[in-house]
Amino acid sequence: MILLGDLMLRMKKTCVLSVAFIMVLTLFSGCADPTGSLSNSDSETSGAQDNEGYSFKTSGIAISMHDDMAPILDKLGEAKSYFEAESCAFPGLEKTYTYSSFSLYTYEDGDIDRLAALVILDDSVGTAEGIYLNDSLDKIIAAYGSDYTHSLNLYSFEKDRMKLSFIVEDDIVTSIEYVALAGE
């Protein structure tokens, strides 16, 4: 019986050590997301912060990426068209509001819709720094400097969790897009 008791004690030790090993492995692995949830915002943009990036100005308001959409929509009035797309993998909607000269795209941050992207649709509006569709690359560089990233015909200026991108074809600006970036 003494031998068996000793054996039981050893087994108990083995068991405790094994469980402890598993627990340590479990606790220290994959702890990047402490909530364990796979929310739509886990690698997206999230959280309200002061936005110092480039803003788009229209109707007397400045619109920045990550802004709460509610006051923006109040000021802009009813959109020419509205489209919403439900994610295949998460609860929630991505919404698109199209006005006559620009479109606004949203992402969900908890209960708040925030601005994910803005695309300029015609040359009746431009960036706050004065760039319009059909302008030249030189004009972009004069307005924003030469600290840009360039890939194919895309010229991008990053600033504080946002990116302002221009597509330039044959030295003519054919697309202007503001995009919210992930990260703090």
Partner: protein, 345 residues
Amino acid sequence: MKWVKVTLRIGVVSLVIASFFFIQRLVMPKYVNGIVEGSLIETYYEEEGNHDVIFVGDCEVYECFSPVALWEEYGIPSFIRGSAQQLIWQSYYLMEETLRYEKPKVFIFNVLAMKYNEPQKEAYNRLTLDGMRLSSAKIKSIKASMMEDENMIDYIIPLFRYHSRWSELSFDDFRYFFNKKKLFHNGYYMRVDVRPVTTFPQGKKLPDYSFGDNAWGYLEKMKKLCDNNDIDLMLIKAPAIYPYWYDEWDEQIREYADSNDLIYLNFLDLIEETGIDYNTDTYDTGLHMNLSGAEKLSRYLGPILREKYGVPDRRNDTELSRIWEDKTTFYYEMKAAQETELAGK
């Protein structure tokens, strides 16, 4: 005493391993309510094989085609191995894994995934990879799908990823611990409700419309895998109006299909032929088809599978008919239940 010692040691180790798997199973998301799409991939393993047609791809396959309609009207047994934002390398490795279980006559791939050339998001990866059984195909798929800050071990042993769900466990985690409720019809996600298309945003201008090398590489691998196994590969684009499918993308796929002697059906160009009506055949303003739309597409596809690929009518197979009878019953029960629920709203 030696046998006692050995027995006890085995018992302890077994207990530890069992506890580990018990905890892992408990904390893993069950995907039976809300985002049910997370359960799609694992449903394949409940099957006995014997499918002549296997679909792979994103939501544009699992919400746009009805295997039951293909069976009822053409006697074609099929399965949809689809999942949310399934990336092309995930589709490829699912094809590779499928061949461990069966050899279909045709693989059908929805080409929207060609737009992605690199991994996008861990959360989407999980919806495909967590449902796969451990295999070399799964490991290769994980490797191809991982984001920079991810670890392979978190996919192979999901407990490492989900351990912190411990504090979020709900009744469903216990209720569906052993068996999940049946939600799909051979990989088809049924919706009978209707929400017509009213408008949709035009595609944003892109700096480059060329598909990436990685995406092309996996399409080529799909073709080779099919060639090596004497299986036909068919390319499709479901008639979903969003995400936007650019003409420039369509042209590249057409050229690839032409030069490789593949059939490519862009259902966006076949609205009249299929009879798709965006006022009645979609449940979410054109992103996916509802049951009516999925059945129309399946009815159009059936004769092509029959005539172009020689997929036979197998309704005379008694055993197969018995299996599909159960599936058909469940299909119509769910259809009736959803219609009743809608009528009550």
